[in-house]
């Protein structure tokens, strides 16, 4: 593909380009699109939940449908919205920050996206076929999940298995990229915090997801092939699911939060015009949080009856995480201290994040106390806590990152006025929705209940919560309008709109498809800032201009993912009729055949010639 071929073409060619692309920047667009779509879907489910709970004994939706709503809201938001959006940001930014032309495995990168997308679509097909969506909660505890009638939980199992495999590939790709492809001079301790967060998050993905894979296999075998892992009559043990699930799902919440810690670190430093306070402490705090994150899964299981010793150990380990997290909060504050702060949308989200997330952290410490947890367990207090960290942390972080890196990703700056309006509506709506839920929980309102009774002191709180949810929804709609407005007639972005410090701001917005014409030479932490302070203002190249090696596009990732999805439908419906096994064989056959073609066909990529690069400079 030459540069001339990247000019305007028809919609079909545009679609084909995105389906076959292996360019990390385009894969980032796909992740943002896919994750954004599922975020809206999950948000819609949240609104239906809040409408049902707006008044006592409401019958807006039936009890069964309510169970499906809460299950799909949780599952969609965590697996299909938050994580893909974060993976999209990592894809867009991390290779640029470390001065790489590409990622280590462009093909795997594309495969990871398509597996996620197909897994998400498969999961959501449950609404239309097989007797309803999964309804056993996003945690799918056995034996509730093994006994759940219909195919809902089967869709949960296969959908998450397929999209989880994609996430694992994404993690391995980022790890190898950071190990082997940093630019000359970009030592580990010079990497921007977002790249560090990507690295550590990928480690978490690598070691956490296989536990989910195993848990889902066991559940799949029990539901579809008559095994007895969770069947107590045959000696099974339902607690195994809880362990496997939380061994995955606790690190998972750090997979959701660590990347945005990186986002806030980069934004705080850039928009305060100061070097990040305590860079080394920030890096080690990230590593420590990740490490401790694997040691605390049983704090979700305090009431199971593991015994006082186990509960105490897990309680103390959980509280210990507050230390590195506190280090981070104080370092952000110290970075802003005395800085020349620009208050724009990205900075507003950052400023809103610090108190919101701290409240979530504080209730986290309260929940970590095993004794007190017997009171909080399965109440709205828990719901309030995890929404404070996941919305107040992850969603705020994603919004901050989108406003900050939108110009780099799409070449246009989001409208500031609408950006600020989005923030204020969402920020106020968020606190209205969830702050009051702490008290609803303490007053005894259990989570996952379809209705509550009148005059129990819960009426006003629930109404306030629902009003807040509508404010958040309006905020999101305004953000969408902003996106379309910017796409149609937003201001063109310069290469460096925020007076940036790291390498991504040294190249044009959006970057050329080969990223760096010449690999940059990194001469310190905040490499672009170093050059600016020395009066040069641009990065020194580490090599003379030469041919650039690029990977070829491929349709195979799409076909492999399609194959596994077809097999997924087969697995789900072979329980009803063994004829559906044909789909299993056909789907896995397609996937394996595509993999074999990938293995047998040499793919050396292509080179952009030096002359072509020189011509382009003119």
């Amino acid at each position: 593909m030459s540069i001339a071929a990247t000019q305007k073409r028809g919609f079909g060619a545009f679609l084909w380009d995105y389906i076959t692309t292996v360019d990390h920047k385009k894969i980032a667009h796909l992740y943002l699109f896919g994750g954004g779509f599922f975020f809206l879907l999950g948000g819609l489910e949240a609104m239906i939940i809040r409408i049902q709970l707006a008044t006592p004994e409401n019958d807006f939706i039936s009890a069964g449908l309510y169970n499906e709503m809460i299950t799909m809201h949780g599952t969609t938001m965590i697996f299909l919205a938050a994580m893909p959006l974060l993976l999209g940001l990592m894809n867009a930014v991390m290779p640029l920050q470390i001065g790489a032309r590409d990622v280590a495995f462009p093909f795997l990168n594309s495969l990871g996206f398509w597996l996620f997308m197909f897994g998400g679509i498969l999961l959501n097909f449950s609404w239309f076929m097989g007797g309803g969506a999964p309804d056993a909660g996003w945690t799918a505890y056995a034996p509730l999940s093994t006994q759940s009638p219909g195919h809902g939980v089967d869709f949960y199992v296969l959908g998450l298995q397929i999209s989880g495999a994609g996430t694992l590939m994404g993690g391995i790709n980022f790890l190898a990229t950071i190990v082997t492809m940093r630019a000359p001079g970009m030592t580990y301790m010079r990497m921007p915090l977002f790249s560090w967060a990507t690295f550590i998050t990928s480690v978490l993905i690598l070691f956490a997801f296989p536990a989910l894979t195993v848990g889902l296999f066991l559940l799949m075998f029990d539901r579809m092939f008559g095994s007895a892992f969770f069947d107590v009559a045959l000696g099974g043990n339902t607690i195994i699911w809880q362990h496997l699930f939380w061994i995955f799902a606790h690190p998972e919440v750090y997979i959701l939060i660590l990347p945005v810690f990186g986002v806030f670190s980069d934004i705080t430093a850039t928009l305060s015009k100061k070097r990040l306070f305590g860079y080394t402490a920030m890096v080690f705090a990230t590593i420590l949080i990740a490490f401790l994150g694997f040691m605390v899964w049983a704090h979700h299981m305090f009431t199971v009856g593991l015994g006082p010793v186990a509960n105490s150990i897990f309680a103390i380990a959980t509280m210990a995480i507050a230390v590195p997290t506190g280090i981070k909060i104080f370092n952000w504050l110290a970075t802003m201290w005395g800085g020349s702060i620009t208050i724009n949308s990205a900075m507003l989200w950052t400023l809103g994040f610090i108190p919101s997330f701290t409240i979530g952290g504080m209730t986290g410490i309260m929940l970590a106390s095993a004794v007190a947890d017997y009171q909080y367990h399965d109440t709205y207090f828990v719901v309030a806590h995890f929404h404070y960290v996941i919305v107040g942390g992850t969603v705020f972080g994603i919004m901050a990152a989108l406003h900050f890196w939108w110009p780099k990703m799409f070449g246009r700056i989001l409208h500031e006025g609408m950006g600020k309006l989005t923030f204020w509506l969402f920020f106020v709506g968020f606190h209205l929705t969830f702050f009051v839920q702490h008290f609803l929980g303490l007053m005894g309102m259990p989570r996952r209940y379809w209705v509550f009774l009148e005059d129990q002191g819960l009426d006003t709180g629930n109404m306030v919560s629902t009003i807040g949810a509508f404010l958040m929804a309006v905020g999101v709609v305004i953000f969408l309008i902003n996106v379309f407005y910017t796409w149609a007639k937003g201001n063109k972005a310069p290469a460096d709109p925020w007076d940036g410090r790291s390498l991504e701001w040294a190249i044009s917005s959006p970057p050329p498809y080969y990223n760096f014409k010449q690999t940059p030479l990194v001469r310190g932490l905040d490499p672009l800032w170093v050059e600016k302070m020395e009066g040069k203002g641009e990065i020194t190249p580490a090599e003379p201009l030469g041919d650039i090696h690029m990977p070829n596009s491929s349709i195979l990732p799409f076909l492999i993912s399609l194959g596994f999805t077809i097999a997924g439908f087969g697995f789900i419906f072979q329980v009803d009729h063994s004829a559906y096994l044909i789909l299993v064989f056909a789907g896995i056959g397609l996937a394996l055949l595509s993999m074999l073609i990938r293995s047998l066909k040499d793919d050396h990529g292509y080179h952009i010639k030096k002359e072509e690069l020189e011509r382009e400079a003119d």
């Binding site: 694992l168 956490a208 296989p210 195993v214 092939f225 007895a228 045959l234 496997l244």
Partner: protein, 207 residues
């Protein structure tokens, strides 16, 4: 830059599997993948250990396992790891023919292991009526050992594809990392089996 990385023993780099960026990526990528696989098998082992006495009145490990067959399987798989080391030794000396020979022996040993495992499973099912659905112990046993067997099967298929694809063109810096990453994977499968031998069969004998 030419795509033809054909080599002779004089120009062969010290570590052909890591001589190119693509090779280094594959090398690290596979190591990371094995890290994830470790957690995968650790989870299966944890499940098995929790359920190994949950026989629900069906056959127990002390009734089923005989060490003779499993010892033979262990020796075969360990030897196949050794033969893959020989193959990598010849790869580094750019002796393609000998590498293919040792890889063929590796594949043969892998297939022998697989045949014995299939025999073992049929033996349990037919002679003892011990199946995947008999008890939680049965489910955990067949899942853990079966996933390992699945990994062996995939490894053999991978190896065959590599050998056939490259049979006529010899070694170069493009395919050397592919052979090398296979050998890493194969060693990993072997290590997992050592744990299965210990945790499932040896511990199963003492009950």
């Amino acid at each position: 830059m030419s795509h033809d990385h054909s080599l002779n023993p004089e120009t062969m780099p010290q570590e052909p599997e890591k001589a190119t960026l693509e090779g280094r990526n594959k090398f690290y990528g596979l190591w990371f993948f094995l890290g994830g696989e470790t957690v995968l098998f650790a989870s299966f082992f944890g499940t098995y250990i929790a359920l190994r006495n949950s026989t629900a009145g069906g056959p127990a490990s002390t009734d089923l396992f005989g060490l003779g067959l499993v010892f033979a399987m262990t020796m075969i798989l360990l030897t196949s790891s050794l033969t893959s080391v020989y193959a990598m030794y010849h790869m580094k000396n750019n002796d393609f023919k000998k590498m293919q020979l040792w890889l063929a022996i590796t594949a043969f040993l892998g297939l022998s292991f697989l045949a014995l495992e299939i025999y073992e499973f049929t033996h349990y099912i037919i002679d003892y009526g011990f199946t995947f659905r008999s008890s939680a112990f049965g489910s955990a046993f067949y899942t853990l050992v079966g996933f390992h067997g699945g990994h062996v099967t995939f490894g053999i298929a991978w190896l065959m594809a590599l050998m056939v694809r490259n049979a006529k063109r010899g070694l170069n810096l493009y395919n050397a990392p592919k052979f090398y990453t296979f050998s890493l994977y194969w060693h990993f499968i072997d290590v997992v089996w050592v744990f299965i031998f210990t945790v499932v069969y040896l511990m199963g004998r003492v009950g």
